[in-house]
């Protein structure tokens, strides 16, 4: 067939070259604004290169010295902060999102005003993180309205210093992450659940399965790929956590740098024009993200295969 139709093949190949013209702008922009900067970021990570006052030191090649000193600084602590605040926000986020997605898609429950609820819960996701953090800062500051209200209600006798206690500051960051993302996750999970073959639920209903059984035995296994996807994309987003803690604590990560994230640390080095160290932090983040990406890729392809197997098995029954 391939050889039997030479004119068509020729025609196709004559059009094929247009593909390059169409994708060229993307790759040129990518090379100029991302690839070359990424390469020079990694390159600088091997150099001593910083500014002392007006004097520029370097770039002097120092090999892996930046990395060695990086792991002696508080980077592991900041990594821990980032992961902790992400996790404390993510666990309730995925739990609430699953619950809401299950409710919204439950035929028996048939909730009303779904459009309204979806519109409202997605709203915080669109808000400028900087403005949201500033709002939280003003509301929860020592003499802010939250404290004033609690005092006047007699719930507390002294203002609670939300932003000067470890639990308060980390808790606020995690809470804001939860609030900003649970609507988005709900809608994504809902769409995944609606993609499940309704015949499976009908069959389960005839067999007398309860809503809970259907949820845990049918829904969860079949939307596992999307759950993994949500988990990993949220984790990558979590590693990038910056705006909220930066504005909330004015870049200091107070109290005692317990809310300093990795990107905040990177930002500090960039502001003090220490490009060598900033490059090293970026490279560590790059490697972390690359590992996560590989993980997404393999878990998604594997999960697809196992989900398909499960679906086939279910159909055969």
């Amino acid at each position: 067939m391939h050889t039997g139709n030479p004119p068509k093949a020729k025609k196709r190949s004559s059009y094929a070259k247009w593909g390059y013209f169409f994708i060229a702008p993307f790759f040129i922009a990518f090379a100029v604004f991302q690839l070359i900067p990424l390469a020079s970021t990694i390159y600088y990570s091997f150099f001593q290169y910083f500014r002392q006052g007006l004097r520029i030191i370097g770039p002097n090649f120092v090999g892996l010295a930046n990395y060695a000193s990086l792991f002696q600084t508080d980077l592991p602590k900041y990594f821990g902060n980032t992961m902790l605040m992400w996790l404390v926000g993510f666990v309730p986020q995925i739990a609430v999102s699953l619950l809401l997605a299950a409710w919204f898609t439950n035929q028996r429950l048939s909730l009303r005003a779904q459009g309204f609820f979806k519109t409202v819960i997605y709203m915080p996701n669109l808000i400028m993180a900087a403005a949201f953090a500033m709002l939280f800062f003003t509301l929860f500051s020592d003499n802010g309205p939250v404290n004033a209200t609690l005092l006047s209600m007699g719930a507390i006798s002294q203002p609670f210093q939300f932003l000067s206690t470890v639990v308060g500051a980390r808790g606020l960051v995690a809470f804001m992450n939860f609030l900003m993302w649970f609507g988005n996750t709900t809608i994504v999970l809902m769409a995944a659940i609606m993609g499940v073959d309704p015949g499976l639920y009908e069959a389960a209903e005839i067999d007398g399965a309860s809503s809970q059984q259907m949820f845990w035995r049918i829904t969860i296994p079949l939307i596992r790929p999307i759950l993994v996807y949500t988990f990993i994309t949220s984790l990558i987003g979590g590693l990038q956590m910056f705006d909220v803690p930066q504005i909330l604590t004015n870049g200091k990560g107070e109290p005692d740098r317990c809310t300093t994230t990795m990107i905040m640390y990177l930002n500090n080095h960039m502001y003090s024009k220490n490009y060598g160290m900033a490059g090293a932090i970026s490279t560590v983040l790059f490697v972390l993200c690359a590992v996560l990406c590989l993980f997404i890729y393999f878990s998604l392809t594997q999960d697809n295969a196992s989900a398909q197997r499960a679906r086939k098995g279910g159909a055969r029954k």
């Binding site: 169409f22 809401l100 979806k118 400028m128 993180a129 509301l139 004033a148 809608i187 790059f286």
Partner: protein
């Protein structure tokens, strides 16, 4: 005997369902309260003066809305008007560039069978998972060398390479762009770029609309890169002005002004969202499932 028993069971299951529904509505109501409360507080406080704000919450607005607005717009330290202008310019151009060039890239991979097609597609997917912050050091350095450090150009030009928008467009074309139409246009003598602009773009308009909104909002909210690049007051975008507010000596500040500036920064997005929420919610679902 069996009949009443069945009826009772039916009734009790009905009662259970009602109870479950009430539980659901209560919980949803609570979540909506959480989501809306902060915006309500923001609006209320934007209309009160500092003294009233320090008295605690109030559910009724004050009378200082216009005073606060005037004070905020006239504050010499926070150039709000130019901030709005800069944010609008950067966001609109980002949205236009991202959607147009992503549609173009997606069409290139969708419609032409060239040699590196699969490789290009896989590469873009890989790029999608990489955070932009990791190349920030080199980016700032490069912009400095190109003389674009204190400029708005590096805030929108990189939007040409937007892998997430590309991915969405590609998915949309797979479902909605039959190649027969393109073939027909070729027979009629339409050139490839002409076909793309006149035939393909109108077909993918819904996808363009959804992604334009998303890109606009994320550019509007972007803080990390602008904070590293912009120095002069006239170039600053809204998120930087808000951050500046945070680092100013807070106790000396007119609180009404603080709330007003936050309101100015987020209310436009909320209004656009409320007008278009149907499409946005659908867009999130589309992007999520196929991802």
């Amino acid at each position: 005997m069996s009949k009443p028993a069945k009826a009772i069971r039916l009734k009790s299951s009905k009662g259970k369902l009602t109870a479950a529904r009430i539980g659901c509505y209560l919980f949803l109501g609570f979540l909506c309260f959480l989501c809306l409360f902060f915006f309500y507080m923001l609006l209320i406080n934007a209309s009160r003066n500092t003294f009233q704000i320090q008295q605690g919450f109030s559910f009724l607005p004050g009378e200082s809305f216009l005073t606060n607005l005037k004070n905020t717009l006239n504050d010499a330290n926070i150039p709000v008007m130019s901030g709005i202008g800069n944010s609008l310019l950067v966001s609109a151009l980002s949205a236009a560039l991202a959607t147009y060039f992503s549609a173009m890239t997606a069409y290139g991979i969708h419609a032409y069978d060239f040699k590196f097609r699969r490789a290009a597609f896989t590469l873009i997917l890989l790029i999608m998972t990489m955070p932009t912050q990791i190349s920030a050091v080199g980016f700032v350095d490069e912009m400095q060398k190109m003389g674009l450090k204190d400029s708005l150009v590096p805030l929108f030009l990189p939007a040409i390479a937007s892998p997430i928008v590309f991915f969405f467009m590609k998915q949309y074309m797979d479902g909605n762009l039959p190649m027969e139409i393109v073939e027909a246009a070729r027979i009629d003598g339409s050139s490839e770029f002409h076909t793309f602009n006149r035939i393909v773009l109108p077909i993918v308009k819904p996808a363009v609309a959804v992604q334009a909104i998303f890109t606009f909002v994320s550019a509007w909210n972007n803080y990390f890169i602008p904070a590293l690049l912009l120095d002069s007051a006239k170039k600053k975008t809204l998120p930087i002005l808000i951050a500046q507010l945070r680092s100013a000596d807070f106790l000396k500040f007119d609180m009404g002004k603080v709330y007003m500036l936050i309101t100015i920064a987020i209310i436009p997005v909320i209004i656009v969202y409320l007008l278009l929420s149907k499409f946005i919610v659908r867009g999130v679902a589309l992007g999520g499932v196929k991802g």
